[in-house]
Subunit: 286 residues, 2 copies
Amino acid sequence: MRNFVPQYNQVVNGEWDIAGLAKRSYDLEGKTVGIYGAGAIGQLVAMRLKPFDVKMYYYKRSRLSNTEEAVCGFRYVRLDDMMAHCDVIVIEAPLTPETEGLFDRDVLFGMKKGAWLVNTARGAIVDRDALVEALEEGHLAGYAGDVWDPEPAPPDHPWRTMPHHMMTPHTAGTTLDAQKHYAEDTRRCLEAFFAGEEIEDDHLIVEGGEIVSGTYKAIYEASESQSSTERLPTSTRADRPSVRDRAASAASSRGSPANGAARTPRTSTVEQNHSSHGMRWCKMLE
Amino acid sequence: MRNFVPQYNQVVNGEWDIAGLAKRSYDLEGKTVGIYGAGAIGQLVAMRLKPFDVKMYYYKRSRLSNTEEAVCGFRYVRLDDMMAHCDVIVIEAPLTPETEGLFDRDVLFGMKKGAWLVNTARGAIVDRDALVEALEEGHLAGYAGDVWDPEPAPPDHPWRTMPHHMMTPHTAGTTLDAQKHYAEDTRRCLEAFFAGEEIEDDHLIVEGGEIVSGTYKAIYEASESQSSTERLPTSTRADRPSVRDRAASAASSRGSPANGAARTPRTSTVEQNHSSHGMRWCKMLE
């Protein structure tokens, strides 16, 4: 929203045309921000946005406590209202059959005109061509994202060349600091495994052939349920679940919490502490 | 520190080379940040950095209260220590004869190797050629700034082409939202003036031929004192005041607070509420 890239480009190109830059530049301060998917990451994003004096809302299937809302500085809102009234929407939900393509043409063009969309979750949550259309037609003012579908994005992926984007090639979680965390946690898992000791619950996804991570379990179950749905005759447009219905079943579906009881053998699958924009990606949903 | 520009450039150039980008990418989380000049702006910067889990210090001639330090999330530190030990230094002090060129070769190369420098205050606080040298030799990892000396910067200004910078052409305070504030406040001053009413103290710099704004008064007085110094023989290198001495007299010199008593006539000079990076630039020093 600050129009950074054209400003930087003027600098390196030897130019100085303030008026040409200001016309697309806005303050974050005072804007209305909506966070779609207020799990661990969405809550961290909110806590970091809070001192910028924004008006902040979130959507999540299971409403957070009043204390959590106060600390994060946001309030719960109906999904339809959030989509229609926010200046900035931030996607922080996992990719599931329900969120895949959720931000389609209807949803994108249902957003407030001139709004910005941020997606640091998964590329496939946003419809590729509908996003290009929304930016080219000026319905959205800008798109910031680190994630693509597929990855690596092919050289001709249209998001590389669409107007007013601020994209990175999924590098947000690949800082040198983050890689140090990954290495340390992987080593800890392997050392525990070879010593026949328990792997910490926080690092455990699969145990004895069962998914024990709440997040991954929810995604897997949603995926299973989608597979049986797909055996039914293709639904017509009118039959499709509404944005609210689809999102409600996705934004914060609950999996079983990892069981603290002793389990052997444990599979040494590592859930990376994925540091993105300075945040630790732990479990996306609770 | 995220190495954004090369990441964005890969996107638009059709590339995807994560390793080539990660090697200069770091988390802000966990870093030590020092704020030079903790006036109104420095304090806002601190409040907005606080939730990023940084360790934060500040330098200011007059130490803030414990409550102010707690709200801002930083602690007072000696200037020399701050310069030598911080991963990131943020300059938020006004340009005065004492701060002009304060970040010279000695100070820049005295910073921690691999540190980042941010300057959204005034370009002339940083020595032009010494900065280029520090970046080219790899002593500093990066420089982010919105301010130049002179402005507009000539097309061949070396900061346009020095390595690892993230600069903008003094556009941070020129958002459309900020321009609306400028226009509204200017109109308010003019309306009050033509109606023979008081201009709000927050908007008053000069009254009856006297500088009444604390910030501007401090800068003016420092400038006057510098002028008399300049009449003395040029000091040798050894005679120059130390970083600490020079900075101590500059980082937060106190001017007289604007007098609330009735004054007529008032000069309708407007102190703009200069919105920069979402912050209101009011009085830089208290």
